[in-house]
């Protein structure tokens, strides 16, 4: 049966949370009511990347992209678009008045500046249909590897492509595979890191939810390349939709004989299993992850030996990130030269970023390496809300650092970010505007590492705690002379003494904010002042008598009755009662309240 229309509904986590399932049920009902359920196919897809505009619905053949669709809009969409062929303009994403739907998206920077390699199928295919994946050249790379290439040719191609790990470190993937391939052992393992612990990052989840087969195919290719027959995907249990789609995908691949024995009639066999993680940040670290797969407490160990020599169950093992794997099939099909043509000299290909914070288009974007932060924030991200000024962006999450406004035109790649004192990390990108206090941000990330430290080594367990105490002191207006220097000494010793990457990188957010915003730290410590007006302990709300009209609005709104006065005369705030909630400032119509 050929359908005259396909309705794609995003079933990513974002859109699922904003009622996509209900929209789907309504759609089924409305189609049946109109008797056209056999003419229109409903296709569940993964994330389109524009979760903030979700739920997203795309109708083909017109290619009309509807955003912010509510269940109550479904009837109109069916009646107008699917029955009468009239586009529901008010729901269109982009230019609502374009003469042609295809044109409505032309100027949507969010889409047209992206280069989709790892996300090539997300939002395009039904992740629960192996046929749709195959239609988009799925498993053709595995077929090519198994029937036309030797394992070392596969490794050479990946090496030549210049692909580097997308999980944080940026280690060359081909080289990692080569190390494991060189080991002589009957048993080797291929592991996938889907722990995604960086707060704010969700590209791995989106790939698993939107295109699980790409990871499965790549892992089988890796197995062939290094001589392994068994793979494990380590995914956090907090990703139920990803786990469910992975399970479906694995069983489909087994059914089609794309996993299992003698794939494509060759003597290569490969199997995959899922292991659920409990969501500890440290379990994303490679040695801790493998210890966790073994069923033990997820704690890291010293390296060497590196996993390529002694990994899971002491066997040679490779571990790659989800996004790294998602690139593999395309590289084999289109060739290393094609991949190398995207990106910068030392960073090839694309990188997916989860853009969040003070930005208009929050969501998932895939950009060619070398694009500038300015392009990401202003062209793709749509700029900063309320016309505020850009202050800095945090990349690399709790292991990374910030890039200040003065470096907004630096091309984003692995090496430039390291040079700026940050890192690529897994691709979290948090945008901060002028109202952000950098000391407070550093404290936030350190709080995360203090919580997530596994406790095995003292520098990380005790050192980060001490640093956090100092930051807490500074942000509560009790900073002491010499605190900043203490932070620096602690940071250096933790970096050198910690056992694993978690501790070694934990001080980075502090060091990088110190590097670019030392004056803010000094203002907190020496003047007991928070320049951004965030740290409550140092704030004082006062009423400017000249501007106050004595309307009494603020005193009525104040939740703790800290404001008093006589109508038509200036009011005053009782500082001993004030809890600094800021309600008075928000309600005042005459801008008579000042925060300092």
């Amino acid at each position: 049966m050929v359908y005259r229309s396909h309705v794609l509904i995003c079933n990513g986590t974002g859109c699922t949370a904003s009622k996509a399932p209900e929209i789907m049920t309504r759609l089924e009902k409305e189609l049946a009511a109109k008797g056209i359920e056999k003419e229109v196919k409903i296709v569940k897809t993964g994330c389109f990347g524009l979760c903030e505009k979700g739920p997203i619905l795309v109708i083909y053949p017109e290619g009309a992209t509807y955003c912010h669709v509510r269940p109550d809009d479904v009837e109109e969409i069916v009646n107008e678009h699917l029955v009468k062929g009239r586009i529901v303009k008010r729901l269109l994403l982009g230019d609502k008045d374009a003469e042609d739907v295809a044109k409505s998206l032309e100027n949507v920077g969010f889409f047209n500046r992206q280069v989709r390699v790892a996300l090539r199928n997300c939002g395009v295919i039904n992740p629960e249909s192996i046929e749709e994946y195959i239609a988009r050249d799925g498993y053709a790379a595995l077929a090519k590897a198994l029937t036309e290439m030797t394992p070392s040719q596969v490794i050479d191609e990946i090496k030549k492509s210049g692909l580097r790990g997308r999980g944080g470190g940026g280690f060359p993937t081909g080289l990692k595979w080569q190390f494991a391939a060189q080991e002589v052992n009957d048993i080797k393992y291929v592991c996938c890191n889907a722990d995604e612990g960086d707060p704010g990052a969700f590209m791995d989840r989106s790939i698993l939810e939107g295109d699980p087969h790409s990871v499965i195919e790549a892992m089988a290719i890796a197995g062939y390349a290094i001589g392994s027959n068994q793979g494990y995907i380590y995914v956090r249990a907090e990703y139920p939709i990803a786990v469910q789609r992975l399970n479906i995908a694995i069983s489909q691949a087994k059914e089609y004989g794309l996993l299992g024995n003698n794939i494509f009639g060759t003597d290569f066999s490969f199997d995959l299993e899922i292991r659920l993680g409990a969501g500890a940040f440290v379990c994303g670290e490679e040695t801790a992850l493998m210890t966790s797969i073994e069923g033990k407490r997820g704690e890291p160990r010293t390296r060497p030996p590196f996993p390529a020599v002694k990994g899971l169950w002491e066997k040679p093992t490779i571990l790659n990130n989800v996004e790294t794997y998602a690139n593999i099939p395309v590289i084999l099909l289109k060739g290393a030269d094609w991949f190398r043509s995207i990106g910068t000299e030392k960073s090839k290909g694309t990188k997916v970023f989860a853009v969040g914070g003070k930005i208009n288009n929050t969501g998932l974007v895939e950009i060619p390496m070398g694009m500038t932060l300015r392009e990401v924030i202003y062209d793709i991200g749509g700029g900063i809300p309320k016309g505020k000024k850009f202050k800095a962006a945090q990349t690399g999450g709790p292991s990374g650092g910030c890039i200040p406004a003065s470096h907004i035109d630096v091309p984003i790649d692995y090496d430039n970010l390291i040079e700026l004192g940050s890192m690529m990390g897994s691709g979290g990108l948090i945008v901060m505007d002028e109202d952000t206090c950098m000391v407070d941000i550093a404290k936030f990330f350190l709080e995360f590492t203090v919580d997530e430290s596994c406790g095995k080594c003292p520098p990380c367990r005790i050192g980060t705690k001490r640093m956090h105490e100092i930051l807490d002191r500074i942000t509560s207006g009790k900073g002491e002379e010499g605190d900043i220097e203490k932070l620096e000494i602690l940071a250096e010793s933790i970096k050198q003494g910690a056992l694993c990457g978690l501790g070694q990188t934990a001080p980075n957010p502090v060091l990088s904010t110190l590097r670019y915003f030392r004056d803010e730290y000094e203002a907190h410590v020496k003047e007991k002042r928070c320049p951004a007006g965030v740290c409550k302990a140092m704030l004082k709300y006062t009423i400017i008598p000249d501007k106050c009209k004595g309307c009494s609005l603020c005193s009525r709104k104040c939740p703790v009755n800290a404001i008093s006065g006589e109508v038509k005369k200036p009011y005053v705030i009782d500082q001993s009662k004030c809890i600094k909630c800021g309600v008075c400032m928000d309600t005042c119509k005459f801008a008579a309240i000042e925060k300092k």
Binding site: V2, Y3, R4, K84, G85
Partner: protein, 122 residues
Amino acid sequence: MKSVEELKAIREKALKEMSIRDNEDKTRIIVGMATCGIAAGAKSVMSAFIDELEKRNIRNVSVSMTGCIGICRLEPVAEVLEANGEKTTYVKLDAEKARRIVAEHIVNQKPVTEFTVGAAER
């Protein structure tokens, strides 16, 4: 999966089902499906288009609908929009005529002049 050929066969079949989502370089057949069109039999015209394209395994043509084009007395009406912007309007269609349009206009690239709005108005 025993062979690469098997994979290719699955791919071909699945591609056919998904071709509707591919919007580039496509010829579009747009059938008027307002009240006037439906009353005059536009639904069977539309099915004939879809069926004929499917039979001939033609993938780069999509069939969609539109509302009233404003020439109700000539319904069922369909427009063939080519990728180069060329537009042909066919009127007073039925299933048989739709099949001929696919055979002559789409396959052989010769518009069926006798069914066009120009011919009907003469």
